[in-house]
């Protein structure tokens, strides 16, 4: 079994304490996504708001247990993500900060863009969004229709629609993937300010993970200065779909860890709220705990692989699909310990059951991940030797 080093064990211990604190506001956030605005001093939220800002831009970052954590490795992110999500996955996704965009900024932004982006993050709590998914054709970059065109005056403009974009309606800045020419290399990412003319975002009500405030975005000739095109110093191959693949590979273990956190929260909820368990219940509960431990091992391994070889995301796909399924299984199983009416009488457990469903759709559905895992199998990229 993989064991964490002292640095990451320290992170885990602190994040676990933060996660416990988040439970107090979890149901409030579920009812009202704006609850996050009164939780900005929560240590978990504070940490998330600067995660993925490199130390170079934040030299005075507060230490945690004597260590520095900037969230630049997948392994570090999965450790924090599990613990924070075990407290409240909604808050994990509601927090301000670079979030998904942070990984793409690290991959694609030039010095000037990084100065601008990280500067905005450090000036005040700032929400960001990352917009790839579109109505009707999801995250299929090949079918993407949002267009990025020259405005005739040296700049660019964006036209199209995006959907299911976390924090879209509350963000100040974000990244939009758009097509600037036909063909597979025609995808480009640009930095967008939501205050720009023609930008409109509205929340889409969801069953769970309401803190994430998924949104629909309309881009009606939104002006984009030429300097906001990410990867402008790179070849079209590197700044297009390649960067998206790299980004999702790096993020996927973190999404798996969120699912794991939800599963663990349901498992711990049973222990804390059910009182005494019968012998058979106790055995079943312990077995579930070991299933959770096993999936955690898979996620850690996937994170280590992605950190070592960011282009190699097949194991991360396997871990994400496995963890999302686990979250659904464990939360539903937890209901069984409370009998009929559990979803109506145990609001926190009901929330976990609903939240678990949402992870399935983040960063690719289970079936997409399974197809990706299959490719890793037949191409010999899963370290099965």
């Amino acid at each position: 079994m993989i064991e964490l080093d002292d640095r990451l064990r320290t992170a885990r211990g602190h994040a676990r304490d933060w996660g416990r604190d988040l439970r107090a506001t979890a149901l409030d956030l579920d009812r009202d996504p704006d609850t996050v605005r009164r939780c900005l001093d929560n240590p978990a939220v504070r940490h998330l708001s600067t995660m993925l800002i490199p130390d170079e831009w934040m030299p005075d970052r507060p230490l945690i247990g004597g260590y520095r954590f900037d969230g630049m490795t997948a392994m570090e992110r999965v450790v924090f993500a599990e613990e924070i999500a075990a407290g409240d996955a909604g808050m994990m996704l509601a927090a301000p900060g670079p979030s998904l965009s942070g990984v793409l900024i690290d991959l694609l932004a030039d010095r000037e863009q990084k100065d601008w982006f990280y500067g905005r993050m450090l000036a005040e709590p700032t929400w960001t969004f990352f917009a790839l998914t579109e109505p009707d054709h999801g995250s299929d970059a090949g079918a993407m229709q949002t267009a990025l065109e020259p405005d005739g005056e040296g700049g660019l403009r964006l036209r199209g629609a995006k959907r299911y974009i976390g924090n879209g309606a509350r963000a100040s800045i974000g990244i939009v993937f758009a097509r600037d020419r036909p063909g597979p290399l025609g995808a480009t990412a640009v930095l967008v300010e939501t205050g720009s003319a023609g930008f409109k975002a509205e929340p889409i009500p969801t069953v769970g993970l309401r803190g994430a405030q998924l949104s629909a975005i309309l881009l009606d000739d939104v002006p984009v200065p030429a300097g906001r095109v990410l990867g402008r110093h790179l070849s079209p191959t590197r700044r297009g779909v390649w960067s998206g693949v790299q980004m999702f590979n790096r993020l996927r273990p973190g999404v798996a860890a969120i699912a794991l956190g939800i599963a663990r929260a349901a498992h711990e909820y049973v222990a804390s709220q059910r009182g005494s368990l019968s012998k058979s219940e106790r055995l079943r509960w312990e077995r579930t705990g070991r299933r959770i431990d096993g999936v955690r091992q898979l996620i850690w391994r996937a994170a280590a692989v992605v950190d070592a070889r960011p282009a190699d995301g097949h194991l991360a796909s396997a871990a994400k699909a496995r963890a999302a399924r686990l979250a659904e299984e464990v939360t539903l199983e937890a209901l069984g310990y409370f009998g009929p009416g559990a979803r109506l009488t145990q609001p926190m457990l009901d929330k976990l059951v609903r939240d678990a469903r949402g992870v399935e759709f983040m960063e690719g559905t289970g079936n997409i991940q399974r197809l990706n895992t299959f490719q890793g199998l037949v191409q010999g990229k899963l370290d099965r030797g």
């Binding site: 079994m1 993989i2 064991e3 058979s280 055995l283 079943r284 312990e286 077995r287 070991r290 299933r291 431990d293 096993g294 999936v295 091992q297 898979l298 850690w300 391994r301 194991l315 396997a318 871990a319 699909a321 496995r322 079936n367 991940q369 399974r370 197809l371 990706n372 895992t373 299959f374 890793g376 199998l377 037949v378 899963l382 099965r384």
Partner: protein, 215 residues
Amino acid sequence: MSAEEARRTARERGLTATLTGLHGTLPGGTLPCGPTGCCVLPEPMLRTADRVWAGGTVAVLDPAGVERLGTVDTPDGPLTAVRYRGSPGPGGDPAPWPDWLAQLAGLRLGLSEALLDATVVHLGERRAGDTALLLQQLIKGALADVVTEQLEIRTVLTGTPPDVETLADLHRQITRTDRMLLRLLGAGGFLASGPGAVVNASELLADAWIGGGEN
């Protein structure tokens, strides 16, 4: 032989060779029986055994206590199934159960991985209409689930040793994974001469030491 070595050996050389190797690592000739006295092993290993794990401790083997339960067919020839009914004897050292369960899990995982390799080849050669079965999305998804289970099992089995309860879970997980693969082989996986026989023998190994049920 570590669990990892057992995995590699089983994937490359099969069940009997690996099981023989595992028995070779036990001190002297040992009949490593499970909690109900059951053991599945190559016949030559039984003939040379002079000590036994009985009641969880190491004891001198009483040949009269060995009851033959039958044979277990494998493509490499039959294994022997026995139950030891002799008494444990006082003051024996504890049998190294966790190590043995881990090694067996490594062995069974290696067999499962070999079965996955063979299944991928088989499905690549078999066609439904104009398409290889391997390229059908349902098949791809099922194979992805199998390899995910195997990667998880291997990760848990590697590095810091898991506890006995976790090892028992791993054995059950291997059994479920093998069954997922057999479903992809259709009736061919049900034949006594094919991969189904190896899976059956693998399940019997687990049955002797941890039982075959889910609890």
